[in-house]
Every structure is written in structure tokens, then in C-alpha cells.
Symmetry: C2
Subunit: 222 residues, 2 copies
DNA sequence: AATATGACTGGATTCGTTTTCTGGTCATAT
DNA sequence: ATATGACCAGAAAACGAATCCAGTCATATT
């Protein structure tokens, strides 16, 4: 009985301990990798450094991730999810549908800008992301899902506006998609042959606001 | 008198001959360069080859262009002008303003696609263009002017629609600008983290048409 | 048995050197 | 006044040696 109790307790502790340690280790690896990537860039960061910073052996890293690339993709996906959350929060706040559309889109654009400007290696990381994404269909899938989630946040606001008679939208999904597509030039990499790339966050947001208001004219109920 | 005549004729012939030869040489250089660039890419093409193909000495190339980069930029500018011309032609045709907006934008997008897909080295050329443009302010200026011209073609159509009471546009220039900006994702390089890049010309045009019709809802008089 | 580790490996990358190539110049020719 | 091609310097390629580092695996630990 004591044995059984000890056994259960021990097993429970072992399981919990392992899982907790495991989760902790995973998180430590992600944290260490994020700092390294931001400070030194993707290529200059080695798995050995990440493992050392995280306080685990090198092999342990490979128990949690298939490789360096997956660590980076995982980090970016987390950032993307975080942005989606912010958008949801903005969409859930009390405001007119027009304002919500404005704010949801601005949130997305500003957050992406913020994330890419946070580090001196932002450009390298963006390039690397695009590169890696091309050869990781499973992550492509997950990224697409996340974009889908963002479309849906916007679609929700459109629906709300629709019910309130402010917007005239038939296919919310498609409209949200087109709407966000029209903002391609506000996302990095800012490749603008002709137009100059935005110089500052303020300039970016001002441009985005103009675009939002232009696009919303087509949404309004007439 | 005969002397004067001969003199004038000779001078005229010389001038005309020189200018004609000169213009011919310039054109021959551009033609040769275009073929080489399309067939072998920018980097693999040498000035010696261009000169040989054009049937002129190497030094002559430098009488007409400041360097290899300027030859390429000149060629691209010519293509851009040609596209503007096509847009003007479409805008001048008889059609409803809505149709003209559709067609003008489709012309632009299709032509750019066409130009970039014409060669296996389209991507290299686009990259090279962006690169070179960064260090050639005078060409930047000329490219911007050409884009301005394209905005104006579209602005003209908007104005026409406005007069006919079909569109409600206050600032034609700015509207044209925003309108074209919304199509960034339809121009190369097609960098789409999430959305797939267009696979074919047909897919591209279909997407563009959807976008045009979406955007035009905001333009219509209510 | 389940998990963690770090020494080890080989393919990739970097580095330093040599060689080739090529954009641009200029003295000469027409 | 215009056209040319030999020439030059600096860039790019080619190469091999040295180094690095992602990923593996035999072993250790619990």
C-alpha cells in the first residue's frame, strides 16, 4: 500500500517532473534561440550556443526540434500567433465597425513592422523565413492557417458591420482576404520600384490609414 | 554654287549620316544587349559580346552609354514606356469607365508579367533592376516619372468616370496611386508568405480582376 | 525504460591565394 | 569628329586547405 502509494507518487512525480522539465527545456531552448537570433542573426547562431544558453546538452535540442530551421520557424509562428491574438483583442473591443477595421489592420501592420525592426538582423530573418518556408510544407500549412485565422478576425468585424447595416459584404471571407491582400506593400520586405519604401513606423501607419479608408469606401452600405 | 550645294549636301549628309549611323548604332547596341540579357542573363553578358553583336567597336558602346548598367536600365525604361503606351491606348478606346479601369490595370499587370516571364532570367533581371536602381538616382527619377504617367492614365479614366457620374472621386491622382498600390502583390517579385505566388498568367489575371472589382465598389457613385 | 549528454563526423562554409575575366580607358586610326 | 581595339586595374571565379557546425549516436544517468 505504502509501496503502491509511493509508486504512484513516484510515477506521478516522474511524469509531471519529466513533462515539466521537458516543457521547461523546450521553452528555455526557444528563449535562448530567440535572443541569439535577435542579437546575432540566424546564420551566426549555432546550436551549441543555444544549447549552452538554455542549459541543456546539444542532443537535447534535437529531442525537441528537428533542426535549427524548425526552431526559427517555431519562433516566428509564435510571434504570428501573438499578433493574431492582439488582432482578436482589438476586434473584441467596443468600437464602431469602421474603427475596428482600421484598428485591426493597423495592429497587424504595426506589429509586423515592430517584429521586423526589433532586431538589427530583421532583414536577414525575414529572408531566412521566406527561404525556409519554401522547403517546409508543414510550416507553410501552419502559417497559412494562421493567416486564415487573421482573415477570420477581420471577417468577424465585417460580419458585425454587416449586421449593423454599416457594411455591405456578401462573402466575408473573400472580402477579408482581398482587403488584406491590398496591403501587401505595407509588409516587409518592402520592395518598391518607383514608390519609396516607408521610412518610419509613423509613415507606414499614415500610409496604411489612407489605404484603409480608401478601401472602406467600397464596403459601406449605400 | 555647286560647291555650296555640295557643301551643304555633304554637311547635311554628314550630319544626317552621322546622326543616323549614331542612332542606328545606339539602336543596334540596345537590340544586341536585349537579346543577350534575355538569353544569357545580365551578369553573363559582356560588353564585348554586345559590341560584337551590334557590329561596333567596344569603345563605341561607351560613346552611347555610360556603362552596362545604363544599357539595362535604358532597356527596362523602354519596356515601361511601352507599357504606358499600351495603357494609354486602352484608356483611349471606347468603353465604359468601369471597363476601362479593369482593362487599364489588367494591361499593366499582364504586360509586366509578360516582360518578366519572357526570359528564363526574368528573376535575375528584376533583382538586378532593383539593385541598380538603388544606385542610379537619375534613373530612379525617370522611373518614378513613368509610374506617374501610368497613374495619370488611370487618373484620366477616373476623371472620365467622374464626369459621367459613374465614379465619385475627389483626388484623382491620389486615388489612382492608392488603387495601383493595392496591386503590389500582383507584381514581381511575388513574395507571398502565406498566399501562394500566382502559378500562371491566367491565375494572375483572375486574381487581379477580383481585386479590381472589389476596389471599384468604393469608387462608384452612390 | 526513458531521457539526457557531448564527443564525433562529414558535408558545408570560410579563407587565402592564384588565375581568369571583363568593365572601362585612351592612344591611335579613319 | 568619330570609331576602334589593345590595354589595364580591379572584380570575379577557381581552387584547395582549414575551419566550422548541424546533426548523430554510443554512452551515462535517472
Amino acid at each position: 500500500m505504502a509501496g503502491a502509494i509511493r509508486g504512484r507518487a513516484a510515477r506521478g512525480a516522474a511524469e509531471a517532473g519529466q513533462r515539466q522539465n521537458s516543457a521547461e527545456a523546450r521553452q528555455a531552448i526557444l528563449d535562448a534561440a530567440r535572443l541569439r537570433f535577435l542579437h546575432y542573426g540566424y546564420k551566426k547562431t549555432t546550436i551549441d550556443e543555444i544549447a549552452a544558453d538554455a542549459g541543456v546538452g546539444k542532443g537535447t535540442v534535437y529531442l525537441h526540434f528537428e533542426g535549427k530551421d524548425e526552431i526559427m520557424l517555431t519562433l516566428v509562428l509564435l510571434v504570428k500567433r501573438n499578433i493574431t491574438e492582439q488582432m482578436r483583442a482589438v476586434a473584441a473591443a467596443v468600437a464602431s465597425p469602421e474603427d475596428k477595421v482600421r484598428r485591426v489592420i493597423l495592429t497587424l501592420i504595426s506589429s509586423v513592422y515592430e517584429a521586423c525592426t526589433a532586431s538589427a538582423h530583421g532583414n536577414e530573418l525575414v529572408d531566412e523565413l521566406h527561404l525556409q518556408l519554401r522547403s517546409h510544407p508543414e510550416f507553410q500549412e501552419r502559417f497559412t492557417q494562421e493567416m486564415q485565422a487573421q482573415y477570420e478576425v477581420l471577417a468577424g468585424v465585417l460580419h458585425e458591420g454587416s449586421r449593423q447595416g454599416v457594411f455591405a459584404v456578401t462573402d466575408r471571407e473573400k472580402t477579408a482576404h482581398l482587403l488584406l491582400m491590398a496591403f501587401s506593400s505595407f509588409f516587409p520586405p518592402y520592395i518598391c520600384p518607383g514608390n519609396p519604401a516607408p521610412r518610419s513606423r509613423a509613415e507606414l501607419e499614415a500610409g496604411a490609414l489612407e489605404m484603409v479608408d480608401f478601401l472602406m469606401r467600397g464596403l459601406k452600405q449605400r
